[in-house]
């Protein structure tokens, strides 16, 4: 069975997304560090069964606390077929840090720009097409709490692929 991991900074909504995708009931709260262990469940996409894993929040793959350690170890131990890098759309930069680390390690990535409703309220505009073009992986705007964008996210999980960070640098013009 193919494995999909949900990774991202603390409190960006990974567990909400996880619950939405799998129908599971992982604990969801509004503070960083609610999830300190991984949670596994199953989901079906187009008739195929997938295993889906919700990881504890992490800022980086170089762990600073035990919850981050769990995230890194799971990524290392079980080779996911796709990693959904969940980014808080109001704090894109620090979400990109983890995303780049994941890309450098060679994981196939899809980016979910979550809480895009909050970003909009705060007048933060994100050029999704441009970001997708630079990163070379699918980027989807989502609002996990309402379910908006989830269909597109699911439909594009198959497009997740490893990319070379050198190419990203070129595309970003550096």
């Amino acid at each position: 069975m193919k494995k999909i991991f949900l990774a991202g900074n603390p409190n960006v909504g990974k567990s909400v997304l996880f619950n939405r995708l799998s129908g599971a009931r992982a604990t969801v709260s509004n503070y960083p560090g609610t999830t300190v262990d991984f949670t596994k469940s199953r989901m079906r996409i187009a008739g195929k069964e997938y295993e889906i894993v919700d990881l504890p929040g992490a800022f980086s793959l170089e762990p600073k606390d035990k919850a981050e350690e769990v995230a890194r170890d799971m990524l290392k131990k079980e080779k996911p077929d796709a990693v959904v890098s969940v980014i808080d759309a109001t704090a894109v930069e620090r979400g990109l840090y983890l995303t780049l680390e994941l890309i450098e390690k060679g994981y196939p990535i899809v980016v979910a720009l979550n809480m895009s409703d909050v970003a909009r309220d705060r007048k933060i505009k994100i050029d999704v097409r441009k970001l997708e073009e630079i990163l070379g992986v699918p980027v989807v705007e989502t609002v996990a709490t309402t379910g908006s964008g989830l269909k597109e996210l699911v439909s594009r999980i198959e497009e997740a692929k490893p990319v070379d960070v050198g190419a990203i640098k070129q595309r970003a013009g550096r």
Binding site: N30, L96, Y97, G106, K123, L131, V165, R174
Partner: protein, 410 residues
């Protein structure tokens, strides 16, 4: 595929250039939420707000649990269920009768101490309403985003004991149940902090189930008992922070925006926790009574009580009968406090002795579930170290409580 790795610096430079091309930040206007957010972390306004929130939490907990327990459970169990089962259960006075019904002459469910009497009454009549009330409020506090703000506010205090403000989150979770709180200690940065946190929680923080029973037995003394336990928590923390080698680095607390709780999430989460209690704790309460009653019938508890009597009477100032409750506390602390209540109702303990023994049950061994969690998280070595801290604290703070009760003349 060729794989390039970046240095931390290169990564941030790349992010900078990506973000310049894709992110456009418009003019941001401060909203009401931002204003409340500011007010809740500024000491001048934040501290009164925190006190108000905690007081509201406490008042709701007491009112909600009291309404169901005193209003419904106590009359239903004591006036109807207890006399009926005392009459109906066959073999009065036999071992099975003692285990399931308990004392045939007991006037209340606290005193009977049988699986079907005290067990069902404490689990469903006293603890269940307390747990529902606690988790309902906790869930709302969690979902609004108030907890990290509280963490900012108490940061200075926690730094004095080598932890940081975020330690308030496992501490509050622990007031519900120590087990998930021990797991939540993972978010602390160093091994030293995690070990300290887990030990302090296991030793000093009573769980919601236990507080629920305390609230039923000694409502006017619960705030003082909790204050004493928090005093123990901070004193022991300050000592440990100096004794244990290791770092206590500063961390930045990430404060998310305030959000209105989604009712569906509040309901699911409260229900998940309450059903967890029914599945995990209720069997432990009922099974615990069977075990403790068997130990009574076999004479083990009387033997222990005789052996430990000098320590209990001289050092803690409580009669040796409380040993039975301490054996129960291995399995479930709520039922252990319930047992003490039964003893007090039967005239075996004075109020002062009841207070001291409730403190002893709180500090004493974590319940079995917490014990297993400590083992899983810290390994055998840390578990043994925690137990050493526990033993010392048990004697120091138990003796101190004895002194306070004696001086106050309760």
């Amino acid at each position: 595929m060729p794989r390039t790795s970046l240095s931390v610096d290169e990564r941030w430079k790349l992010i900078d250039s990506i973000s310049k091309q894709v992110v456009l930040r418009g003019k941001y206007k401060h909203t009401l939420k931002d204003v409340i957010s500011d007010l809740s972390v500024r000491p001048m306004t934040g501290i009164p707000l925190a006190l108000a929130v905690l007081f509201g939490f406490w008042a709701f907990f007491g009112a909600f649990a009291g309404f169901f327990t005193d209003g419904f459970a106590v009359p239903a169990f004591d006036d109807h269920f207890l006399p009926a089962i005392q009459r109906a259960f066959p073999g009065e006075g036999g071992p099975l009768y003692w285990i399931f019904v308990g004392d045939p002459g007991a006037p209340s469910c606290f005193e009977a101490f049988g699986v079907l009497t005290s067990g069902l009454f404490v689990a469903f009549g006293v603890v269940l309403p307390a747990i529902v009330a606690f988790y309902l409020v906790l869930t709302i506090l969690e979902d609004t985003g108030y907890l990290p703000r509280l963490a900012v506010l108490v940061d200075t205090v926690f730094h004095k004991i080598g932890l940081h403000g975020f330690a308030i989150v496992p501490t509050i979770l622990s007031l519900g149940c120590n087990v998930p709180a021990v797991a939540a200690s993972r978010v602390l940065e160093t091994k030293k902090q995690r070990f300290m946190m887990m030990s302090l929680l296991a030793v000093f923080i009573p769980c919601g189930a236990q507080i629920g029973v305390m609230e039923e037995l000694l409502p006017e003394y619960v705030p003082a008992i909790l204050a004493f336990l928090f005093f123990g928590y901070f004193v022991t923390g300050a000592v440990l922070s100096r004794l244990i080698p290791g770092r206590s680095p500063e961390i930045l607390i990430d404060v998310p925006p305030y959000r209105s709780p989604i009712m569906k999430n509040v309901a699911t989460k409260t229900w998940a926790r309450v059903s967890g209690f029914i599945k995990m704790a209720v069997p432990a309460v009922l099974g615990g009574i069977v075990v403790v009653n068997l130990l009574y019938l076999l004479g083990v508890i009387d033997w222990l009580a005789d052996a430990l009597e000098p320590i209990f009477v001289v050092w803690f100032g409580v009669p040796a009968v409380t040993v039975g409750a301490l054996v129960m506390a291995f399995l479930r602390k709520d039922m252990a406090v319930g047992m003490l209540g039964g003893m007090a109702a039967a005239g075996l303990l004075t109020t002062g002795e009841l207070i001291t023994s409730v403190v002893l049950v709180s500090i004493y061994f974590p319940c079995l579930a917490t014990f297993i969690m400590l083992w899983k998280e810290g390994g055998v070595r840390d578990l043994l170290k925690s137990l050493a801290i526990l033993t010392v604290s048990f004697f120091v703070f138990g003796g101190l409580m004895h002194g306070i009760v004696a001086l106050a003349g309760v």
